[in-house]
Structures are given as C-alpha cells and as structure tokens.
C-alpha cells in the first residue's frame, strides 16, 4: 500500500517536472461530426471537436455564458452602434504558422460574407444567416458591411445597423478564426450540393486550421475516432493533455458500458435515469446550469380555437408543470415562467404566472365556448434532447393534464427526423413538444428565433398581434443602448406571457456530463461548450 502511493507520488512529480501531464483523454461522442469547418456546421458533435482547435474574437468565460476576450483583447463600439473596433492579441499564430492579425480577421469575415451557391444554404451557413442575414451577392439585407485592417492589431467591423447580437455572437463556434492560408490551399469554400446532400472541401475534412490549444491530427472513419494533439506553440496556457480522442459511439447504452469498462473517460448528456447509478459507481456527474427552454408549442394555423387567448391560457393553467419537472426531468430542472432562463438579459420577474389550476382552465374553456375541444398533440420518437430527456413520459404527463380538463387529445407520434420536425415546422400540428438550447447570451437568440418570423411552427401570422410582435423584437434587437434594450425585452416578455401566450413555456432542464474519476479540471459550461484544454488525467 505504502509503496504504491509512494510510486504514485514520484510519478506525479515527474510529470510536473516535465511541465505538464502527458495524458490522453478519450471522450465518447454520439455522432460523427459533419465536417471540421465550423462555419458550415450547426451541430454539437462538430462544434465539440472544432472548439478545442479554434477560437473566435471573443469567447465565453468558463462555466458561464458571459463574454470574455479571446483572440481580441478588447473592443469598443461607436456611438451609433454600427462600428466595432477590436484590439487583437499579438504574437498568435495559426497551427500552420500563418500569423493571426487584422488581415486574417478580415479574410475570415470576407469569406463568410462572400459565400456563393451551396455555401449560402442555411443547412451550411446557418449561423451566418441567423446572425448577419444575407450575403454579398443576394438580395437579402446583411448586417455585415465591411471589415478594415488599419494596422495588424486593429480590426474594424462595420455593420449596417446596431444589433443586440454583438459582440456575443462572435463567440459562436461558426465564427472561429481559421487560417486564410490553409483555407486557400485546401479550397475551404469548395462545397456543392449533390444528390440529396452536400460535398465538403478537403479543408473541412482533413485540414482544419485554427489557433486553439489542440491541433487536428486525424479522423479515422473506419474505426470512428478523431484524434487531436496538443498545440505546443499555443499563445496561452498550453493544454494539459497531450492527446484528445473522440470516439464515436451512437448507442447511449454502449457509451455507458464503455465508461464503466474504462475504455472511454467521459460522455455527454447521460440519460437522467443513469445519473444516480453512475454517481454511485464513483463517476463524476456534473450538472450544468440550465440554459435552455422546453415549451408546449401551439400552432395557430389549423384549429381556430387556438387563436383564442382564453383557450391558450386554459392550456397553461391545465398543465401541472411543477409535477412535470419533479417526475419527468432530472434534478436541478426548474419550471419556466417565460421563454428563457433568468441568466439572459431582459428576464422579467413580474410576468403573469400560470399555476396549476384545472378549475380555472375548465372555466376559461367554457367561457370561450370550447368545452369539447379536440387537439392533435404531436410528440417525437427516436430522440432525446438536453431539454427533453424523455419525450414519451413528458407527453403522457401533459396529455393526462389536458384530458383532466376535458380536452380530447389526439396523439400523433413520429420519429424526430422521420416526419416530426417536418410536420411541426410546417405548422401541421395543434400542440407539440419542442425546445431550444441557447447559443449565446442574448434574448434575440431565444424569443427572436421563436417569434421573429410569423409563418413558422407557431404560425403567429394567424394572430392579430403576430406581425406586431415580430416588429417589436426587431426594434429591440436594433436598440444600441443596452439599458433601453433590456427594458424593451422585459416588456416583450411581459406581453408574451399576459397578452400573446403563443406557446406555454414548460421547463429549463440542466444537461449533465459524466467523466471518470481520473478526469480533473473539466469546467461544465451552460452553453454545453466545454473546453478540454484545462483537463488533466490523474493516475488514481
């Protein structure tokens, strides 16, 4: 016993003398990344990998959704909010040796703005379209106007109008800075549609080049592993791991077994039903702060009864959300009073609240003349989402509540990718279950996405206030004064809950991440955007 611990001491001393831990961490991934060029991606599996290799002008403070300097050391905006000047970090190099400077920043922005053909499709450049709108050669207006590089350490971005999205949105993985040299050499913009899919560039498959603490080594598709190695020339504190491996394991049970057997060191979004047993078995289960929303969606297109505010309020009173959170969601989940969590600007404490009140629900339905209401209630199969770990259980709980107030529920269940999203996004449901995980800390990212357009899943076009709500959201997004902007969003939230109620917010649910005891220093992020550079492997 004594000799063993002495040996362990000696080993750890040797490690620190060598200037770091030379461990390897193997992390279980649920799916294959689409590609390694984050600009064309919008899926978590891709971003989890590229985040370790690439950085943006701004980043998020570990463990929070707050913006902090990353490749830019500071920034300021002009009075009118349309000119943003970024001071850049000096002495930073991309993995291929290309210097990072203002020219590189502008090259990245110009690349994004000048996408053509397939590159303009929102299946690829989703985050550009969401954040900036249009491209150089299309007719949609773009938030982006130009980029200037007055000197190597100053980059100036000119916008068409002020926006609440800046600078936070620049921390999105899609807007990571990539090496202009490598992108040109391996034709990063060479994407095209073919058959029922897209063909990506050689850059995106084999040569992603950023400035981050890890470098791309290989993607072995036959064995389903992605290997990154430490960037020895990193500008900041170097990664403690010498190698970081992502192993693709699509089956949730197999991920758990691999962790139990010790062949992987961690995986994301463990099933809430497993949390207790994993933690009892000595694994480190970390629960992030919830940064998401699950809602009971209402589509106003098909059933005219749903255009009556009284009916929608009746739905809100009918659902026992407290019980839902306790019975169907993991520990740490909260009842949602509005469409985003309290960490986001503009959260209003004094919104109208709907406690569980079946009597009131019945009364409202009777007043509206819809006591014999029948609703097509959609729920998804073959899926779990961080905000929705158990769709069937959640559906059953809510359907039971609705039946209890005399509503006839016609259940419609479809596979997530096999018709569910199709039908819901084309406004074919009456009620549906869906949610959202925030990309960054901005009200616009939540309610702007939901209600900024009127012909989506909620179909607020059918409501007299639908168009007006979209306009209010647009005005708030364009307000340059942060204090005024926050007040505008709070006002929208109050109206959303009292006058509009286009859907019923249900819950904020904390996604977990599990690792073995050997993994030290992992800081969970509410954005589910963990950086593994701080992780080391202990030898216990």
């Amino acid at each position: 016993m004594l000799t063993a611990s002495l040996a362990a001491c000696a080993a750890s001393e040797r490690d620190s003398a060598a200037g770091g831990n030379d461990g390897t961490m193997v992390f279980g991934a649920a799916g294959a990344p689409a590609l390694f060029d984050p600009f064309y991606a919008s899926d978590g599996e891709t971003f989890r990998v590229t985040r370790q290799m690439m950085e943006g002008l701004v980043g998020y403070k570990p463990g929070t959704a707050e913006v902090q300097p990353e490749l830019a050391t500071g920034w300021e905006q002009s009075e009118d909010g349309t000119t943003w000047t970024f001071q850049l970090r000096e002495g930073v190099k991309f993995h291929d040796g290309t210097p990072f400077n203002a020219e590189a920043v502008c090259a990245n922005f110009e690349r994004w703005y000048n996408q053509t053909g397939a590159g303009q499709n929102s299946a690829l450049s989703y985050y550009w379209i969401e954040t900036f709108g249009g491209f150089a050669d299309d007719d949609k207006p773009s938030l982006y106007e130009s980029c200037e590089a007055p000197d190597p350490t100053t980059a100036v971005i000119n916008l068409a109008r002020p926006t609440s999205k800046f600078p936070d949105a620049l921390g999105l993985d899609s807007f990571s800075m990539q090496s202009p040299t490598a992108m040109e050499k391996y034709q990063a913009n060479n994407v095209r549609a073919q058959g029922s899919s897209f063909v990506y560039s050689e850059y995106a498959k084999k040569h992603p080049t950023g400035t981050g603490p890890f470098k791309f080594e290989s993607y072995n598709e036959g064995n389903g592993t992605i290997t990154l190695t430490r960037n020895e020339n990193y500008w900041g504190e170097k990664a403690k791991l010498s190698r970081l491996i992502f192993k693709i394991i699509p089956d949730e049970n197999v991920r758990k077994e691999e962790l139990l057997a010790g062949s992987i060191d961690g995986y994301d979004f463990p099933n809430p039903a497993d949390l207790q047993s994993l933690s009892d078995a000595g694994f480190n289960v970390q629960v992030r702060d919830p940064f998401n929303i699950m809602y009971l969606g209402i589509t106003q297109k098909n059933n005219p009864a749903l255009r009556d505010l009284k009916v929608r309020k009746a739905l809100a009173y009918a659902v026992d959300r407290k019980n839902l959170v306790q019975a169907n969601l993991p520990e740490g989940a909260e009842v949602a009073t509005q469409f985003y969590p309290d960490t986001v600007d503009g959260y209003a404490k004094d919104v109208q609240k709907y406690s569980h009140n079946p009597e009131k629900a019945k009364q409202l339905l009777a007043e509206a003349g819809h006591s014999d209401l029948t609703l097509r209630f959609y729920w998804p199969t073959q899926v779990t989402r961080p905000y929705m770990p158990d769709p069937r259980g959640i559906f059953n709980a809510i359907a039971g509540d609705l039946r209890a107030v005399g509503i006839t529920v016609e259940p419609v269940s479809k596979p997530w990718n096999g018709g569910y999203l199709d039908d819901v996004n084309n406004a074919r449901a009456d009620l549906f279950l869906l949610g959202w995980t925030g990309d960054y800390n901005s009200p616009d990212n939540f309610i702007g996405t939901f209600f900024g357009s009127t012909e989506n899943q909620f179909y607020t076009a059918a409501a007299p206030w639908g168009e007006d709500l979209a306009k209010q959201l647009q005005a708030a997004d364009r307000e340059p004064d942060p204090a005024k902007r926050e007040a505008m969003y709070a006002e929208i939230n109050r109206k959303l809950m009292a006058q509009y109620l286009p859907a019923v917010p249900l819950s904020h649910s904390p996604p977990a991440i599990v690792t073995s005891k050997q993994v030290k220093g992992l800081q969970p992020s509410p954005l589910t955007a963990e950086e593994f550079a701080s992780v080391s492997m202990s030898e216990e």
Binding site: S196, S197, K247, V254, I264
Partner: protein
Amino acid sequence: MLRYTVRRLGQLVIVVAVLSILLFAWLRSLPGGPVSALLGNRATPESRAALIQQLGLDQPLYVQYWKFLQRAVSGNFGVSTGVQPGTPALEVFLQRMPATLELSALALLLAVAAGIPLGYFAARRRGSWLDNVSITWSLVGVAVPVFFLAFLLKYVFALELGALPVSGRHEAGINATEVTGFYILDGLLTREWDAAWDAFLHLILPAIALSTIPFSVIFRITRAAVLDVTEEDYVRTAHSKGLTERVIRARHILRNALLPVVTIIGLQTGALLSGAVLTEQVFNLPGLGQALSLGFQRQDFAVLQVVIIASAMVYVLVNLIVDLAYAAIDPRLRTR
C-alpha cells in the same frame, strides 16, 4: 456450367435494377427525409424550400432517379447525410464493409466449426448426453434475442472480468497502419501484432453473439441430415458390401448429409447481414449493419441505397456460389 453462370448473372442485373427503382421510390415516400436531417429543428419553411430546391428534391421522381442513374454510372452514388455526413456513400460502404465481413466470417466460422461436428456426433450418438446438451443449447441459441445475449456477454466478459473490450473495432488511440481495412489482416501484414490481437479481441464477443443463430440452424440441419442418411438404402448396401465404417461415414453418410447443410450455410450467410444490424449496434462496430440502422434513423438516402443494393448483390452472388458448390458436391446436378 458457364452458360448457367452467365444466365444467373443476368438475373442479378435485373434484380438490382428493379430493387434500385423500388428502393429509390420507397425511401422518398417516407416522412422526413434528408432535408429535416440536414436542417434539424432550426428549420424554417423558407430554409426548407431553399434546400429542397437546391438538392433538386422538388423534381419528379423519375427525373431524380434518372439523375441518380447518370451519376451512379460514373461511380458516384451520392453523399452521406447522416451516417458519416459529407463522405461519399460508396466510400462509407467500402470503409465499413471490412468490419462486417470480418465479423460475419468469424461468426460463420464459429457456427460451422461448432455446428457440423456437433451435429454429426449428436446424430451418431442419438439420445446421449452430448445430443441432449447440444439440442438444448441450439434451442437457447435460436430463442435468446441477440441484444440480450450481447448484454450478458458484455456484462460477464467485459465489465465483470475485464477480459474483453466492450465495443468498437480497435481500442481508441491505438496507432495501426491501415492497408486493406481488415484490421486483423492489416495487423498481420504490417507485423503490428498488438494491433491484430487487439482487433481480434474486439471481434470475439460480437462474433459469438452473431454466430448463435447460424450455429443452431447448421447444427440441427446437420443432425437431421445425418440421421436421415444413416437410414438410407445405399448406406445399408454399403454395410452389407462390407465397407469399413470409416469409408461409409466419410464417403456415404457425411458427403450426402452435407448437401442440405451447404444450402443452409449459404442462406445463413445472407442472413448474417440482418443479424449484423443488431450486433453491430450493440457492439458499436462501424460496419454495414450499423450504417443501416443509423441510415434509417437519420434518413440517409445515399448510404441506404448503396448498402441495400450492394447487400442484395452479395445475397444473390452467395446463392449462386452455393448452387455451384452444390453441383460440385452432387455430380447428378452437373450433367443437367
């Protein structure tokens, strides 16, 4: 013989053509489709419409099929959207095929190596303990669902004893040189013995799980065939002629009993792929079976088309080989 082979190959072409049309139409009639898979829950009606148009999914089916054929002729079978997004479907198929072939070969080897001798000796000593144990075991083999067996095997050998790996083809982080994509073979070719051994260890549990059904079938058919043949007139004649036991067993009983066994091995080879769907899923083997289950889950048309059509071709070819083998074993068929 040659004419026969050519005719059968002609049939193969027809089978593939008809299958590809049916499959193409059927996949596109399923709800969802690649557009949902590509855009996820962030789709808007606008972005959906743009993508449908860009991918040409708004054109009539026959136009889409014609374009598919045109590309297919030049070896381009589309690009994966869900299984390995962005990778050409043919590449996905070729990368994954070795995993499935390795697994199937080992499973079939296990099934044959255990099924034929056990079946033969069980029949020779009918009613003995060996017979009873083997019959019971073969019943269990057919009856126990693969995923449950897989769970048991993993629990005992991987989690409790720690003797064998839980899943995958190689331990993550092993640095093996790839030559053919067959990991055991690659390890032997490059003299990376530890890589070959590691790949072999990874195959043991899945191969056992996959072999149970073919084993049971082969065992039972062998046993029944040997019992049948033993009662035949020509065996009695051989006995009365005074031939030695050994000659009778080898030349008269075993050889004749093997005819139905060869047929059944052929059929089981075809069935291995459907068994591999489940086995590869529970053992996380990146093979064709996993590609099929992920492909359906994620509506990956291109991968499904290639894998299903290629599997059908394999099935037809295996049947052809069985028929040819049949002719080799049974001279009566050759003269026809």
